[in-house]
Subunit: 386 residues, 2 copies
Amino acid sequence: MKDFVFCNPVKIYFGKKCMQHFGNEAKKHGGKALLVYGKGSIKKNGAYEKIVSALKKEGIEFVEFPGVRPNPVLSHVRKGIEIAKKEKVDFVIAAGGGSVIDESKAICAGAKVDFDVWEFYEGSKFPKEALPLITVLTLPATASEMNMGSVITNEENGLKLSMGGEVLYPKASFLNPEFTFTLPKEQVVYGTVDAISHIVEPYFNHTAEYNTLSLNIADGILKTLKTECENILKEPENYNYRANHMWAVTVAFNGLVRAGLGRNEFPNHAIEHAISGLFPDVAHGAGLAVVMPAWMRFVKEEKRDLLIRFSDNLFEKSVAYPDEAITLFKSWLSSIGAPVSLKEIGIEKENIPQIALKAYEIIKNWALNKDFYTVENIEKILEFAL
Amino acid sequence: MKDFVFCNPVKIYFGKKCMQHFGNEAKKHGGKALLVYGKGSIKKNGAYEKIVSALKKEGIEFVEFPGVRPNPVLSHVRKGIEIAKKEKVDFVIAAGGGSVIDESKAICAGAKVDFDVWEFYEGSKFPKEALPLITVLTLPATASEMNMGSVITNEENGLKLSMGGEVLYPKASFLNPEFTFTLPKEQVVYGTVDAISHIVEPYFNHTAEYNTLSLNIADGILKTLKTECENILKEPENYNYRANHMWAVTVAFNGLVRAGLGRNEFPNHAIEHAISGLFPDVAHGAGLAVVMPAWMRFVKEEKRDLLIRFSDNLFEKSVAYPDEAITLFKSWLSSIGAPVSLKEIGIEKENIPQIALKAYEIIKNWALNKDFYTVENIEKILEFAL
């Protein structure tokens, strides 16, 4: 087990009635908010109305900033920062999924500095202060509501990079499973795949030699994600299925599983970020479903025991070889409707070199193992995904 | 799944080198500390020296307050509060196990009020402010280092009661597994039993009808506790075994497992608090090892499925009846050296009525189900433990 520092101060208000606390929490952070959201699904699922009525009741002014897109882009972030500065907002409310929350974190940090926010993502600057952030989650996927990370795509160069910092933890996050009842099936599937990938990365890529706790907890979260995703697809308005799924997605990437595992690598994310950075219509979860089994095939010898453990836990069925484990995982991904090949997400063999080059840039930016994840090896992984 | 609010802001510094951060963390909280500890084991395991040298290096004054006993008592708490007030300390450092931390929390809250600290435990007052607390854990058991609870015994009436409140979360806790290398075997065993009981209570006593996540995570923590306790007993100076055990004990009772389970009852704790309140030489973990299997026998019909699940997970062996599950658990407790009968902890049949009456008082004080846990039923449970 490796040394670690763990502190996750996010206050989670969870459940059917959680929005009752919204006004009270919001007024702690000031009298004027920037309300960030996407294409307006929050006006259908009930979140918008609850937020606006609570703000009005507390006399909190707010400026709306809609239009965040999936795989949020730098140009829109910059607009948000401009508005936050001009309007002198005291805090930011992110209402939506991981894209809205990640963009809001960028606005929170960007509003406090005079330089371009992209410097945080390039790694030349580190966020030291930020506007307070409250999130209202409507799409469980990234766990951004309970962590300090943010991923943004720079559409000028197709680079999708991340930043992190303690000042980016939301002050509070509101998780009402009922807001997820209206999500399209594919978003449930992609959200689940994303959450599974947040476990897969530390599960397979860590430096601690011996860590029973993190892997045992990871096994428990993985089981819940699988069961509840299947349950939701059959019965989308079952509150308990939605609630367990939503909370499992959040807990999957709030720092707990990673504690004590030492340095984590994120190769699947690096490769997927290259894909959705270059092909912004590919959902992050869809890209991950394609990359993970291919990556597993590439590392199947060195990760043999972990692959068998992962599969035995998830599928409650003992396998003898890593190939069987990968086949089971891939079949299950297909069964819930996730793509498992590049072709299914509209990417051809000829796109591979370009993706591999971009992924290698991200590998370097994240200081991952660039001697192992060479352009050539990334191409091999992508070929397994054809 | 039930609605919940979850926020655990404790900063955990974990590992071999964690004390490097101690001075830096301490100076955030002021220039003068009260250093609370027990009978001096911290002078053998290395914690005392690390703390004192860091305080000196940072120029932080400190007053020592040793002598906390297992099952910490109100009279000693009151002395600590007097000293904290007289010396005008800015913060408190608890160096030891759960007893030292619980007593320190009492001092932190008591130092801020003019009335008697026992009023918090009786429930007539609620702690609204407290001195900042830093803990250095040397005995993994209660998870007090990462929660907001405190248990104190009033030796005037033998009542062992608890209080809780957000202001009682430690600001930071330092967990160096090496400090636990010198613990006597029985403390490892009792600490493990205590941690298991922190999972057992919400596992079996909750109101949520459906919660896959908490129970799946609980299963993972339970497995780690069992494995690492067995490993430590064989190889006490294996760092990885100690580290996984220490962190599992902390995570077992930091609020995560309980989130979403609804109202929890703590019948095993209520009965055990009666035992160790009246017989202060009984270690809390020893009392729990005696009570849990007896309590399980009493509720075996209504908790049938959960008992089988609990056992199947922990012993990786499928059982058909709850009695088999209880027998396996009891045998395992014996195998690690925990007592499983009242006789083994020096309590006779004739003591049962007195314990049952005291337990019933605690049941009422905690607002548990007093219609189910009547004096008569508590006596039945205790008779199963003979």
